[in-house]
Symmetry: C2
Amino acid sequence: MPVDDALAQDCPIREVLDRVGDKWSTLIVLRLGQRTHRFNELHREIDGISQRMLTLTLRALVRDGLVSRTAYPTVPPRVDYELTELGRSLLTPITALHEWAVAHRDDIRHARAGHDQAAHAPHAGPSPEPLAAHP
Amino acid sequence: MPVDDALAQDCPIREVLDRVGDKWSTLIVLRLGQRTHRFNELHREIDGISQRMLTLTLRALVRDGLVSRTAYPTVPPRVDYELTELGRSLLTPITALHEWAVAHRDDIRHARAGHDQAAHAPHAGPSPEPLAAHP
DNA sequence: CTGTATCCCCCGGGATACTG
DNA sequence: CAGTATCCCGGGGGATACAG
């Protein structure tokens, strides 16, 4: 499929990005990629997530068929969340993304540092502006 | 590298997700993966993006060393944006993500439809609740 | 053409309290 | 334990106008 289609307005990648895009979904999927988790396990392990967002994000993931929810009618209640096969298949690309992040984190750090320093420097731009006239 | 590290609080994937996460960055990178673009070309081709967000997102991408900006001091001005090598390397994982999206868009659609229908159905859940007592 | 500067609204999402 | 229900604030981001 041509990439152009992916860039059209109603393209599928937008839907996916709306899921992968929010950090919580991705972090949850990565966690569940390790093993099945209970609600509070996720709550404890994913630092900074609020109960509300954990609930909402899990609901969305279940709705999209990426995560399965199993409730045991015991007291106290127990609910297990685990990746579906679809969810596990998503693990592949987001793991690739994760690996890229790890491999290039320093590149980004350096780029930022260099860029910020250039901005604060007194003057004399690092790159001589290209000169040209265009039609 | 163990995935656990990626799930720690200050993990690199969070930084990356903050970039890839917002839909605009990814769409811009995909566009620039095709070819160099001028400002207004991106503005026209990326449906729905505001001038403000295009500017801000491009600035962030340049700052992170993913995109290079070349301004020609002509009148009218002309500015070219293109992926750096780092940017092109990012293209690989997000293309993988894109391909996943294309391959599984229907799966998600169906999952959603099924889930929503089950919610609206009069009664009789589709999956018989598992019964068990746990320690 | 390529931005910058403002205004301003909306809602994402945190904090807190309550329930089955 | 596993959620729901409310309140409420900040800032993300659109619309618009202006500038080099």
